[in-house]
């Protein structure tokens, strides 16, 4: 399951229970940022940027599964099943001085998924796809509702165009967060305890 380490911020993650706590904690933080973005959306629309940045950090540094440069970090091996991009020459030079044995190309076992891991990866994406795809009809319905309110064909005291737009923003933001993190979270949630012997 893991790329290079079974630890996140020094906390061991071999146990399923620990991983599930991690997933809950990460989503709690992301939810806080989402709520913050939605609350501040009126006065500071750019606030959603912070949610995206934090989600990217969580996906790359905690959950893993990200390809490219981000493939070096996180609990899960890169999903694209390709070796992470080589580090800059400077980093290699420093590493050679600090730990000569670890320099060079990364160990294949740290990034290559075996058949079972590929199967888990695909399954997690199948499940995540259902969730992500189901958000689109919600956005569509809200947009249709917003249009009716804006045209005046639907008049409810509590429903304004601003309210509908905020709802669309909230759904789109949550969907973006989920699309970036859900497959990795599903894997971390479902993987059984790891016995390192």
């Amino acid at each position: 399951m893991t790329a290079a380490s079974y630890k996140v911020f020094g906390i061991p993650m071999e146990q399923q229970r620990a991983r599930r706590k991690l997933v809950v904690a990460v989503y709690a933080v992301l939810l806080m940022f989402c709520v913050g973005s939605i609350v501040f959306a009126r006065t500071a629309p750019i606030a959603y940027n912070w949610t995206i940045y934090v989600t990217m950090a969580a996906a790359m540094l905690v959950f893993g599964g990200v390809g490219g440069v981000g493939g070096r970090y996180g609990l899960i091996k890169p999903f694209p099943n390709k070796p992470p991009r080589p580090e800059p020459v400077m980093v290699d030079a420093i590493r050679l001085q600090l730990a000569p044995m670890t320099a060079g190309t990364p160990d294949e076992s740290s990034w290559k998924n075996d058949e079972r891991e590929l199967s888990r990866r695909d399954r997690a994406h199948y499940q995540a796809y259902q969730v992500v795809a189901s958000a689109f009809p919600v956005v569509l319905l809200l947009a249709a509702l917003g249009l009716k309110v804006a045209q005046g064909s639907l008049q409810l005291a509590w429903l304004t165009t601003t309210t509908v737009l905020q709802s669309i923003f909230a759904v789109a933001l949550l969907e973006t967060v989920l699309a970036m993190t859900l497959p990795a979270a599903i894997i971390l949630w479902n993987e059984p305890d790891i016995d390192l012997g």
Partner: protein
């Protein structure tokens, strides 16, 4: 679907039919042609929808699941086998008219749940679709903001229609991936299908 491999018949993918709307689907080329045609039709629909000044798309939107699931996967009747066990319609003409499962219509003999290998192919298609979707969504958003700089009023008028088209794309993408990526059989084309398959 079953390919001939000498005397051995090997199941290789999740195709439900060898023919769809009169189009044969035995070879990879034919399956890819179906995918291209499907998206060409969607593109044509997009051009017409953006061109004409129609505001009420209600009847068309009501067909979202039918159009989006035309290639199968999420609904019965398409070339790709349905991914999950479907909820069957009530058998109102039958002798048993209850709300439990025994009162529901049975599928014809062609339907069967996916085996382990087919589930693997379904999952793999969704992984690929997920990756494609991330790029597509980014391009969609960029394109939307790009156009909104030049024609905001026109775009505001067409937003619902564009969202609906994107929804169709999201619904159909995994099935398109299945049809597009499945390789040719050893003999070059399909020679035999599961009993009862059309």
């Amino acid at each position: 679907m079953i390919w001939a491999e000498g005397a051995l018949f090997v199941e290789v993918w999740v195709l439900e039919q060898t023919q769809f709307l009169g189009m044969p689907l035995k070879t990879q080329k034919q399956r890819r042609l179906l995918v291209v045609l499907y998206y060409a039709v969607l593109f044509g629909l997009a051009v017409v929808g953006l061109w004409i000044n129609k505001r009420d798309w209600g009847p068309l939107v009501a067909q979202t699941f039918v159009v989006g699931g035309l290639l199968g996967g999420i609904r019965i009747g398409g070339p790709v086998k349905i991914y999950e066990e479907p909820i069957l319609p009530l058998d109102m003409e039958g002798a048993v008219q209850t709300l439990n499962l025994s009162g529901r219509k049975r599928f014809d003999s062609t339907w069967s749940s996916l085996d382990e290998r087919e589930r693997g192919q379904r999952d793999m298609a969704h992984y690929t679709a997920y990756r494609i979707l991330r790029w597509s969504f980014g391009l969609f958003v960029l394109g939307y903001f790009g156009v909104s700089a030049f024609a905001p009023a026109w775009l505001a008028d067409k937003t619902l229609f564009l969202l609906w088209l994107f929804l169709l794309y999201v619904l159909s993408l995994p099935q398109a991936v299945v049809l597009w990526t499945e390789p040719e059989g050893p003999a070059g084309e399909l020679v035999e299908v599961r009993a009862g398959a059309r």
